[in-house]
Amino acid sequence: MTRLTAWFSEGRSTGKHTLPFVVILLGVTILASAANLFLPADSAFYVSTYTITLLGKYLCYAMLALAVDIIWGYCGILSLGHGAFFALGGYAMGMYLMRQIGDRGVYGNPLLPDFMVFLDWKELPWFWLGMDQFWFAMLMAVLVPGLLAFVFGWLAFRSRVTGVYLSIMTQALTYALLLAFFRNEMGFGGNNGLTDFKEILGFNLQADSTRVALFLITAILLAVIFVVSQKILSSRLGKVVLAIRDSESRSRFIGYRTDRYKVWLFVYSAVIAGIAGALYVPQVGIINPGEFSPINSIEMVIWVAVGGRGTLIGAVIGALLVNYAKTRFTAIMPDAWLFALGAMFVLVTLYLPKGLMGLYGQLKAKRNTVMNKESQA
C-alpha cells in the first residue's frame, strides 16, 4: 500500500493532486453505484439510474476534456477539432453495438442495420466488416482517431502549422467530417447516425447493472488515464512539452525534434478522446454526426478553460461543472439558461484568469501573503 501511495505521489509539483483525485473519483463512483444497485428506490440515498447515466456521461466528457487539456494546456496546441476524435471513437463503438442488434432491427435483417435496409443496400460495406467483434471494434476506436491524428499531425506539425492556423485547420477537419458523415452514401446512417442499441457483450444495455458497470468502467479508465497522463507530463517529456509550448524554436535549438513530440502527444490525446467517445455511446444510446459539429469542439475547449488549463484536474473539474450547470440550467430555466451559461463563461474569464484551479491557487497565494505579513509583523 505504501508503495502504491509512493508511486501515486511521486511526480513532482503537478502530481500532488493525483492521489486525492483518484480516491475521490473512485470513492464517489463506487458509492453511487452501490446506492443504485443495492438501495431500494424510495430510500433517501438511492441514486437513480438517470443520475448514473448522467454521471457516466459527465465522466466521458471529463476524459475528453483531459485529452484537450493535454494538448492545449500543456503543449499550447489549441485543437478546435477534438470532437472529431471523440466522434470517431464513438462511431466505432456504435458500429459494434449496431451489429449486435442482429435481426432484432425493425426490418429483421440479420446482417444489415435498418438504415441500410431502407436505403436499399444489398451488402455490408467493407468498413463495417469485423465490427461485430468487440475487440476489433475497440481496436478501431483507438486506432482510427489515433491514425487520423497521426496523419493530420504529421502533415501539420512537419510543415510547422502553428497557432490559429492549426486551430482553424482542426476545425476544418471536424467540419469536413461532419459534412461527410451527414451524407447517407457514407454508410454511417447519415444525420440519424446509429441508435437503438440493444446489448453490449451480451449484456442488456437497458439493465441497471450494465449501466452501473459502464459507469464504473468509465471511472476506472478515467482514473487510469489521469494517472498515466500525470506520469507522462511530470516526466522529462512533460517538461519538453511545456518547453515547446513556451518557445518551440528554442526547444529545437537545444536539439528536440518538436514536431515528433507534438505528433505523438496529439496522437495520445486523440486516442484518449476516442476512448471517451467509445464509452460515451453505450451510455447515451446514440452517435450521430452532430458530435462532429465545430461548436461541440469549441465547447470542450471551454470546459478546460473554465476548469483551468494546464492542470489535469482543472480540465476534469471544468467538464463536470459546465455540464452539470448545463443539465441544471436547461431544466430550471429552459428559456433563459443560455444567459446563465454565457454569463458564467464571461465571469470566469474575467475573474478567474486561470480557471477554477487558478481560484484555488489565488486563495492559497492570498493565504500565504497574509501569513508572510503576519510573520513579518
Binding site: R236, L237, S247, S249, I254, R257, W264
Partner: protein, 294 residues
C-alpha cells in the same frame, strides 16, 4: 535539374550517401577545421545580408566575430544553426556534416549550441528545469519519456548553477528573472548541453563590468576542448578573450587577425570602431598595462 546533374550530385565525392551515412557520425576534424563556411549568400527582398561570406574556424579555437550593426553576424549564426535557409553556399561541420540539409534539432544534436542575442529561455519553467532540458541526453521521444535525472546529471546542473550565479534562484520561474539573469541562464543552458561548437551572440550585453570579466574567464576556459564563436560589441571584452578576430562588413569578411591588427586596421576603424574609440582603447590598454605592472 537534369538527370545528369542529379546523377552527378548523387555521386559527388565529398559527400556520403545519405542512406549510408551513420545517423550520428562523429565530427571529423582531421584537418583541424571544425567549421567551413564557403561562399554564403543570402538576400532579403533584394537586400544582401550575406555576401559571398567565407569563414573557417579551427577546432578548439575561440573566435571573436565583430562588425557593424547589421553586418550579418546574427544572420550567419541563423544559417549555421538551420534557422534561416541561405540562397547559396556551403556550411560544413567538420568534414562530414553538411549543415545546410539538416534542421535545427539535428544541428543541435550534432553539438552546436547557441545563445541568442535577445535572451530566450523557457519563461514558464524553473531555472533548474531550463537546465535539465538542455542537458546532453538522448532527445528522442521515448527515451525522454522514460529518462530520469541521474546523480551525475544533478551534479552537473548544480555545477552550472553555481557557475552562472543562479544557485539561489534554482526554483524560480525563468520568466521572473531580470534581463541580465536571463543572459546568464542562457549561457548556463549552453554549458549544460556540453556542445562541440558554441555560437554566442552578445553575451555581456547588460552585464556589469565584473560580470563581463567573469564571462570572459568562462569563455576562455571553455575554449580548447570546445570551439567558441563569440559576437560582441564590447571591445574591452573582446580584447580580453580574443585570439583571432574576424570583422564582418556588409555580409562579408572585411578583416581577420589578432586584436591589435584589427584595431589598427583603417577600414575597421572607419566602419566600426571609430577614431576615438580606437585611440581610447589604446589608452585603456596602456592604463591596464600600467596597472598590471604596479
Amino acid at each position: 535539374m537534369s538527370t545528369l546533374d542529379s546523377t552527378r550530385e548523387f555521386f559527388r565525392r565529398d559527400q556520403v550517401w545519405p542512406f549510408l551515412a551513420p545517423e550520428q557520425a562523429a565530427v571529423n576534424v582531421d584537418n583541424q577545421v571544425i567549421l567551413y563556411v564557403e561562399g554564403l549568400n543570402l538576400s532579403f527582398d533584394g537586400f544582401k545580408a550575406l555576401n559571398n561570406l567565407n569563414l573557417y574556424v579551427n577546432d578548439g579555437e575561440l573566435r571573436c566575430l565583430i562588425g557593424a550593426n547589421g553586418a550579418g553576424k546574427t544572420t550567419l549564426m541563423d544559417v549555421i544553426t538551420g534557422k534561416t535557409q541561405c540562397d547559396s553556399g556551403t556550411v560544413f561541420f567538420g568534414q562530414n556534416h553538411n549543415l545546410l540539409n539538416k534542421d535545427e534539432a539535428e544541428i543541435a544534436q550534432l553539438g552546436i549550441g547557441r545563445k541568442f542575442q535577445k535572451p530566450t529561455v523557457f519563461e514558464e519553467q524553473t531555472v533548474f528545469d531550463n537546465l535539465e532540458l538542455s542537458l546532453k541526453t538522448d532527445k528522442r521521444v521515448l527515451p525522454t519519456l522514460f529518462s530520469r535525472l541521474t546523480p551525475t546529471q544533478i551534479d552537473r546542473i548544480d555545477e552550472v548553477l553555481k557557475t552562472i550565479g543562479l544557485a539561489k534562484h534554482r526554483f524560480m520561474l525563468a520568466g521572473a528573472l531580470s534581463h541580465g539573469q536571463k543572459q546568464w541562464l542562457e549561457i548556463g543552458m549552453l554549458l549544460a548541453a556540453d556542445p562541440r561548437l558554441l555560437l554566442i551572440d552578445e553575451p555581456v550585453a547588460g552585464m556589469t563590468a565584473q560580470e563581463t570579466e567573469r564571462t570572459a574567464e568562462l569563455l576562455t576556459s571553455l575554449a580548447g576542448e570546445r570551439t567558441v564563436i563569440v559576437v560582441e560589441h564590447d571591445m574591452e571584452f573582446v580584447r580580453s578573450i580574443a585570439r583571432t578576430v574576424t570583422v564582418l562588413h556588409q555580409g562579408s569578411v572585411l578583416a581577420e587577425g589578432t586584436m591589435d591588427q584589427i584595431q589598427s586596421n583603417k577600414d575597421v576603424i572607419e566602419v566600426y570602431l571609430g577614431e576615438e574609440a580606437a585611440s581610447e582603447k589604446a589608452q585603456t590598454r596602456t592604463k591596464a598595462q600600467k596597472g598590471a605592472s604596479e
